[in-house]
Symmetry: C2
Subunit: 252 residues, 2 copies
């Protein structure tokens, strides 16, 4: 069993949707193109869907394979059916539970195996507004909101404080993508199971285009080196300019 820890996040902005993912383990196959943990499905002029996966790799790969088969066999429910992204989230949730249940035994030699996976699903169908969901291993899902415009899966905590400070629903998508990289980079620095290449994708509201802005930063990409160096120096400066603690001692 490969259970690659990972870190993915997505944001629901006025501009559209931003997706960011690390890719320490390389896996996952999809219909249109393969972006490690970022799986993109587009059906011209009808819908664009992006799926980010974390958790048990066998489970998330099996779910992606089933999504593929259901499309090929034009199953009753598939990525092309449904009028809302939440319908697709229900569908992915069902596949997820089915797959997880196959391998989770209450007792015996394989008891305690954690075959669970978690997904983020975002996209737009026709003229409906873009939607963004986190799908739990149990199959249910929550959505982003105006006051909580981002969702995270995997190793989420290290990179949360910077998102809490910067991301609001009216944040510009370029700022949001930059913040996503900083959040991923902070996580990589503190946790060895998250690593480059980093992928970022922006889906522009109402475009129904597969990807409006996409980039991938390898370990040696000059921008990644530059942003790391710059962020490190800037945070140190931010820290050095904090009010002096001596005033607290003076009052004790």
């Amino acid at each position: 069993m490969v259970c690659g820890m990972t870190y993915c996040l997505a944001m629901s902005l006025d501009d559209g949707l931003v997706f960011c993912a690390d890719s320490r383990t390389n896996a996952g196959a999809d219909r249109v193109s393969t972006y490690s943990k970022m799986h993109r499905f587009s059906f011209p002029r009808d819908r664009v869907l992006v799926l980010l996966s974390s958790g048990n790799l066998a489970t998330s790969q099996a779910v992606l394979a089933q999504i593929e088969r259901d499309l090929e066999s034009s199953a009753e429910v598939n990525l092309k059916s449904g009028d809302y992204v939440s319908d697709i989230a229900d569908y992915v949730g069902e596949l997820l539970v089915k797959e997880k249940t196959k391998y989770s035994k209450p007792s015996g030699p394989d008891a305690g195996l954690d075959a669970s996976a978690t997904f983020i699903l975002g996209g737009q169908i026709g003229e409906h507004a873009p939607e963004l969901y986190m799908i739990y291993p149990e199959g249910n899902h929550i959505t982003a909101s105006k006051s909580q415009p981002y969702l995270q899966i995997g190793e989420t905590k290290y990179g949360k404080p910077i998102l809490d400070r910067i991301i609001r629903s009216d944040t510009h998508y370029v700022t949001a993508m930059t913040c996503g990289i900083v959040s991923l980079d902070s996580t990589m620095r503190s946790n060895a199971t998250v690593g480059p290449p980093l992928e970022c994708l922006f889906y522009a509201r109402d475009s129904l285009e597969p990807h409006c802005r996409y980039f991938k930063l390898d370990e040696n990409h000059p921008y990644l080196a530059k942003i790391r160096e710059s962020w490190d120096a800037n945070v140190r400066m931010a820290f050095d300019q904090l009010p002096n603690l001596d005033q607290v001692f003076a009052n004790e």
Copy 2:
């Protein structure tokens, strides 16, 4: 059962030891003085010991009570015995396992109860160098090192990136205490189970003084308000000055 999530950290510096703790739940009693999750024991000219606790409150309180009783009854092993802080860590670890085991049932109605607690123990005994340990619920412990000068317990991840950037063993203790507050504050912002008052204590190497520098920041303490405001503004500025992402799009 009260299982207060918490966040405590300690640093082993050339200057001495720094301890920081939040105190969302108010509990814990000790011999000399009560600092919510920060418990200080000092035996003039012989030893200074500081214990930070997280996890199951009943367990950590029971361990502290037993430490107290062993001191009063002059038990064979107590806080005053042993020549090294690691001896005390062994002793605390044993109390911890004993207490946890009482309430952890493999089956029955109370199965699955998590009665575990984790401690940080630091201090100095006589002429030996200051020592710092994290004591696991299983009773064993690890120490800090030159390359890993800090230890954390509880809700540790949100506040780790700033420590990774700032704390080294040659960091000045005032800088280290400031960084501890920023780390605690970042955690409070992202996680509601961690909260003020915040406590910080510095033990100066070879002083054998109970606390060389100590302060407590309540929710309304002007310095806490000031550092929050300043850190928020400075981090935003640090973020705004990052290299422009447009250069990446240009190359795609």
